[in-house]
């Protein structure tokens, strides 16, 4: 397959990483980088959430007050929000054919995941620094 593709990709395009779509390499790379980074963090997140079920506010604040937990959580939130924005963008592009609606959705996703990221990070810092 790569032999065939080589015929259609000029050397400059290859160097820039651009195929016939002219764009998308960065999107693809970021989707994979976030996916890779998330593997250990997601296991840690699920484990933490399930073991923290039902703990008191004091215990929860103490847990999030430990720098390692707050830092890992903030890194994970940055990664997940980018990954989810990129991921849902592809789904919208695949299924929504009405152009204005598609643009509106894409813009909403950008704002929504960014805003959620900011809100969660602020909340983490506030709890972590002592409510």
């Amino acid at each position: 397959m790569s032999k065939d593709n080589d015929l259609y990709v000029a050397p400059l395009k290859k160097a820039k990483g651009l195929g016939s779509a002219h764009t998308g390499t960065h999107h693809w790379m970021m989707q994979k980088i976030t996916a890779l980074a998330q593997i250990p963090l997601v296991i840690w997140l699920i484990w933490s959430i399930i073991s923290l079920q039902g703990v008191s506010y004091v215990e929860f604040s103490a847990w999030l007050g430990q720098p390692i937990n707050a830092i890992l959580m903030i890194i994970l939130v940055c990664s997940v929000m980018l990954h989810a924005k990129l991921g849902t963008q592809v789904v919208v592009e695949d299924y929504i054919t009405n152009e204005p609606l598609k643009m509106a959705k894409l813009i909403c996703h950008k704002i929504l995941f960014f805003a959620m990221g900011v809100a969660i990070i602020f909340s983490i810092l506030k709890i972590s620094f002592g409510g």
Binding site: K32, A35, L36, Q38, I39, V42, I43, I46, W47, I49, I50, S51, Q53, G54, V55, Y57, F60, V80, M81, A84, G87, T88, V91, F113, M116, A119, I120, F122, S123, I124, K126, I127, G131
Partner: protein
């Protein structure tokens, strides 16, 4: 102009989806569900940052029967999406793409998701 009435090829409603195709659409469904689920995670953190009363309220929701079911499904969906996502990245490097290996790796992904979910709920809780 009248459209020509050509026969249509069998479509999604006619074919029985092979397991590999089911895994693919499940990856998309879990991905979108998890993305919607981030709203719940955000709600939990914002409530917790708003003080002890709000924290107690959302924690009581999370430990209620419905909360536990959602939490279980969330963990299973995320483990499935993670395992299948790892396989996706093998696909991207050109690995596991022949019929036999693709089929066999279906079962690794399903087994991985079930084992991780079970182990977490048994040991972490």
């Amino acid at each position: 102009m009248q459209p020509v009435q050509r026969p249509l090829s069998p479509h999604l409603q006619i074919y029985k989806l092979p397991l590999t195709a089911l895994m693919s659409i499940t990856h998309r469904i879990t991905g979108v569900s998890l993305a919607i689920g981030t709203l719940l995670i955000a709600a939990f953190f914002i409530a917790s940052a708003s003080g002890e009363a709000h924290y107690n309220f959302v924690m009581s929701l999370a430990t209620s029967a419905i909360g536990q079911i959602i939490l279980f499904l969330w963990s299973a969906a995320l483990y499935f999406h993670m395992c299948n996502g790892i396989r996706h990245m093998f696909f991207d490097t050109g690995k596991l793409l022949d019929k036999k290996k693709a089929m066999r790796s279906n079962y690794y992904v399903i087994a991985g998701a079930i084992i991780l979910t079970a182990v977490t709920w048994i040991l972490a809780r």
